[in-house]
């Protein structure tokens, strides 16, 4: 039992896919200008990762190792097509905001990384937990970055199904408070992640890299 719970909680801090394993940055940062696309993206990645892990884990004894990469790509691509079609049907606005980044889940290194490193050698249930765990680790970073950027950049928070909430009260603006327009620009996502890594590594010293 404790081994299974470790599969779930490990990737959230000590073995976080973004800040420690450095996987899946590609599609992570571009969707963090607002909170809503970040949340939708996180849910999509968790779903694809967990399902792909289970499928590959079920097939693990029948896949010849020479063609495993292609098999993995096909499984992932099929799942991503499903997610993309569902998004287009149920929330076309978010789908438009995410644009090509849903498709880029296919080449998200987290997926290949976890399939190669975990699902190919473990039972379906453990692989499922590993998928959920790593997906959540990815989701947490995405949501932190998106919250910081939207709060400082536009003074609002956008939640799915609720819509835009104004967090900074109007009176602040009358006193001369300005939104930090820099936060909306793409490079700030990288700097925010850099700062998250800084904070995390000063809390857990064992993650510090040798020079």
């Amino acid at each position: 039992m404790s081994k299974n719970s470790k599969l779930l909680t490990g990737p959230i801090n000590l073995n976080n896919p973004i800040t420690v394993q450095v996987l899946g940055i590609c599609s992570a940062l571009a969707v963090t200008v607002k909170l809503e696309p970040a949340i939708v993206m996180s849910i999509s990645v968790i779903a694809v990762l967990a399902l792909a892990n289970v499928i590959i884990s079920l097939l693990r004894n029948t896949i010849p190792s020479r063609i495993r990469i292609i098999v993995q790509l096909v499984v992932i691509a099929a799942l991503v097509i499903l997610v993309d079609q569902i998004l287009k049907a149920y929330s076309p606005d978010v789908s438009k905001q995410l644009s090509v980044f849903v498709g880029l889940i296919i080449t998200n290194c987290i997926l290949m990384g976890r399939l190669e490193a975990f699902a190919l050698g473990n039972k379906p249930w453990e692989s499922f937990l590993d998928g959920i765990g790593n997906g959540s680790g990815y989701a947490i970073i995405l949501i932190i970055v998106a919250t910081v950027r939207e709060l400082l950049g536009s003074g609002t928070l956008t939640l799915p199904a609720v819509g835009e909430i104004k967090v900074i009260p109007e009176s602040f603006y009358q006193f001369g408070y300005e939104n930090n327009g820099l936060m909306i620009l793409p490079p700030m996502a990288l700097i925010v992640v850099g700062i998250i890594i800084w904070v995390q590594r000063s809390k857990t010293r064992e993650l510090i890299e040798e020079n």
Binding site: V22, L23, I25, C26, D84, L104, C109, P186, I208, E209
Partner: protein, 206 residues
């Protein structure tokens, strides 16, 4: 002609794969420890982009787009829309093109092959490659020439970015970086600052 030049400059500087869209970040972070290896990977990426973007363009134009099959079955094709298959088709094209490029380079340019080494197969899962194809589809580029120029430009932009960060990391090694930021942390922040510098190109229009 002017359009092509405009697209070329924009895809290198304004819509730089790394700084504007964060594409190809995984290999960008993993293979940027020294300038030499960064150069090798960058050239391989240009090579593959130059081939896959036009091929994917042709695939999209003549097979996947709504009504694209008209050359094959005439009027009936107007209702056929296969674009939901584009992810799986593009990734298949990319994976097989990478394999093909690898074999051709090995046969005709063994020196280049031994330099590129393990980077070639890695490129199949580089997001910049699939990203360029998907952007090409989304922006509805109108000709084969445009797609080629877009592929070349994106590749050169990526090369500039990875060589820049590799050079910076070589210098950073001799600096006193706060311990928790060492390695990946400072690389993120340096990339962010480079990205802000690249934003100055934003107004360029030819």
């Amino acid at each position: 002609m002017q359009d092509l030049l405009n697209l070329f400059v924009r895809s290198i500087f304004v819509e730089n794969m790394v700084f504007a869209f964060f594409l190809g970040m995984c290999s960008y972070l993993a293979v940027s420890k020294t300038v030499n290896t960064a150069m090798g990977l960058g050239i391989a990426v240009i090579f593959v982009l130059l081939i896959t973007v036009p091929v994917d363009w042709a695939l999209n134009e003549y097979v996947l787009k709504k009504g694209a099959l008209e050359w094959l079955i005439g009027e009936k094709a107007a209702e056929i829309d296969l674009s939901f298959l584009s992810f799986i088709m593009f990734i298949a094209v990319i994976a097989s093109m990478v394999q093909l490029v690898e074999m051709i380079v090995e046969k005709f340019a063994p020196a280049l092959y031994s330099q590129l080494g393990i980077f070639l197969p890695l490129i199949a899962v580089n997001c910049a490659i699939l990203g360029a194809s998907l952007f090409m589809q989304e922006r509805e580029l109108t000709s084969f020439g445009e797609a080629t120029v877009y592929g070349l430009g994106s590749g050169i932009g990526w090369l500039i970015a990875i060589i820049g960060i590799a050079a910076i990391r070589e210098k950073i090694r001799y600096s006193a970086v706060p311990a928790p930021l060492r390695g990946i942390g400072i690389t993120f922040i340096a990339t962010g600052l480079m990205g802000i510098a690249f934003m100055t190109f934003m107004g360029i229009k030819l």
